[in-house]
């Protein structure tokens, strides 16, 4: 029997339908098997004491309070916090993790002269800066319980370290300058591929049960233009070593620089030291290629600030 035209049309439809099914059934690229398991290389020159060794006396209570402030800053240091961040968002594992600016990497290095404010800063004053800039809030006064508790926590964590010697794993890793200048469009692709899942399409982060689970990266609820994370080198180092969370050191250096540029190429709350104009403020506090404050990115001059 010769196939009739109707049968042939029917067969074509069937083929098309099968083809569609086959396309749907094929695993997408994102579902390819995992590459060889990579473990984060958190090279560390110091092992902080276990939380269980926090003493149960009155000193220990203050240490434990410092730890709570560090983990849930908006709750335990209410009144000094102006955004949805906690210390722990950028200092992972409650300030214990190497290459994530651990407290034990900072505490033994103070007092220190800081070019940021041109004088010798105590550790407590350094902590005040965190609240003013990274937390976009206001500095607790010296002697305030919040600062005392945080300093007690950092002191306890640093027991046994040498004073004035930066231990391996302090701060964020310094990445070599990228082969290509950091780029907004490339950064945007990295962001969409590896970051938006958690931090949201607009970098706004995600909340659940009244708590920040994934921190906002820019906009009114993030750190302000005076924070250290505003610097591309800091952001690229943190991202390279620690992001995506649990998969640190899987991005290329170029990706880390590009996505740092993308993140910091967005508007955020004004630098509290703002005076006169964006231009003057840039000259006074942001005069480095690592800051995009006052720069024109994606057709927009940054540094206008956003209201809380």
């Amino acid at each position: 029997m010769k196939p009739s035209p109707w049968m042939m049309i029917g067969a074509l439809f069937l083929l098309a339908a099968c083809n569609q099914k086959a396309q749907q059934a094929a695993p997408s690229v994102a579902n390819e098997p995992a590459a060889a398991a990579t473990s984060p290389k958190h090279a560390s020159g110091f092992e902080p004491p276990a939380d269980s060794s926090i003493p149960s006396d009155d000193f220990g209570k203050q240490i434990a309070l410092g730890r709570q402030i560090f983990i849930d800053t908006g709750r335990y240091a209410k009144g000094y916090v102006g955004n949805q961040l906690s210390c722990e968002n950028c200092h992972l594992d409650a300030g214990r993790l190497a290459q994530s600016a651990p407290l034990w990497g900072a505490y033994p290095m103070y007092p220190a002269y800081r070019s940021k404010n041109h004088h010798v800063n105590t550790f407590a004053e350094r902590l005040q800066g965190c609240f003013q800039y990274s937390m976009n809030g206001k500095a607790p006064p010296l002697g305030d319980d919040v600062l005392v508790a945080l300093e007690a926590y950092a002191y306890w964590m640093s027991k046994g370290e040498s004073i004035g010697v930066a231990p391996l794993g302090h701060g964020y890793p310094k990445l070599p300058k990228p082969a290509q200048a950091p780029d907004y469009a490339r950064g945007e692709s990295v962001f969409k591929r590896d970051c938006a899942l958690c931090h949201g399409d607009n970098g706004q982060g995600q909340q659940a049960a009244g708590r920040t689970v994934f921190p906002p990266l820019w906009g009114p609820q993030s750190f302000n233009w005076g924070a250290g994370m505003e610097r591309l080198d800091n952001a690229a180092g943190f991202i390279k070593a620690n992001m995506p969370l649990s998969r640190g050191n899987t991005l290329t250096d170029q990706d880390a620089w590009d996505v740092a540029y993308f993140m910091n190429g967005h508007e955020r709350p004004q630098d509290p030291r703002f005076h006169g104009s964006i231009e003057e403020t840039r000259k006074a506090y942001h005069d480095t290629p690592d800051s995009l404050y006052g720069a024109t990115v994606n057709g927009k001059t940054l540094g206008e600030g956003v209201l809380k």
Partner: protein, 220 residues
């Protein structure tokens, strides 16, 4: 003229009928199957979508719609390998998959009998993994993605609280052994590669004992 009207009317009726037939009802599929191969979901997942703890069939009620929809797709494409679910999903059309995902996402979380919280060393291990992680091994806390008390976050991080011990344990083993590799950014494959058998037992028992309904938030 009249006959033309009749023909038009008949066409309209036919089109309307096929349009209706093209909008499957999630509740019907859940309760009766789809009439062409897919068994009723409730046969395994319970009349209220609460699952069957003893058999390891998960609760579907109140899970994020996008998460449920993706799982159906992943059973079909094999990135979530499951001998029971694959044939069921293969006999659901795209529209039917949409409908059941929507149906279950909107079901209220049923109340479940309380499950005993682990004690002793297992409790310590579980609480640490759930809330703090084990960072010297590069292991984040479960809560850092699944939210406070494992209540789930957004479209991609499902609630863990109140799922059964067996379901959570099976899921963690499936990630670890590669039978399940549909995780975004390979997050769960990475995490489970760092979990021991004792860790898996402890954390499964821990989240099974966390109440599901009290932490479930309305999806925006």
């Amino acid at each position: 003229m009249n006959s033309l009207r009749l023909v038009l009317l008949a066409c309209c009726v036919l089109i309307a009928k096929s349009a209706l037939a093209g909008t499957p009802d999630g509740a019907t599929i859940a309760q009766q199957g789809n009439g062409h191969g897919a068994a009723p979901c409730m046969a395994c997942h319970g009349a209220d979508g609460g699952g069957q703890a003893a058999a390891g069939f998960p609760r579907l009620a109140g899970l994020p719609q996008a998460y449920l929809r993706k799982q159906l797709e992943d059973f079909a494409n094999g990135s979530r390998s499951n001998a029971t679910m694959q044939p069921v999903v293969m006999s659901l059309t795209d529209a039917e998959r949409d409908a059941v995902a929507e149906y279950y996402s909107k079901l209220p979380v049923p109340s479940a009998p309380p499950v005993k919280t682990p004690d002793g060393e297992a409790a310590h291990v579980a609480q640490t993994l759930a809330t703090r992680g084990r960072w010297p091994n590069g292991l984040p806390a479960c809560e850092q993605c699944h939210g406070p008390s494992g209540g789930g976050v957004g479209d991609h991080f499902p609630p863990l609280a109140g799922q059964s011990v067996l379901y959570i344990s099976n899921a963690l083993h499936a990630w670890k052994q590669g039978a399940r590799h549909n995780d975004p950014l390979q997050l769960m494959q990475t995490v489970t590669s760092k979990l021991s058998e004792a860790d898996i037992a402890a954390i499964s028992a821990w989240y099974a004992a966390q109440p599901a309904s009290t932490v479930k938030e309305a999806q925006p």
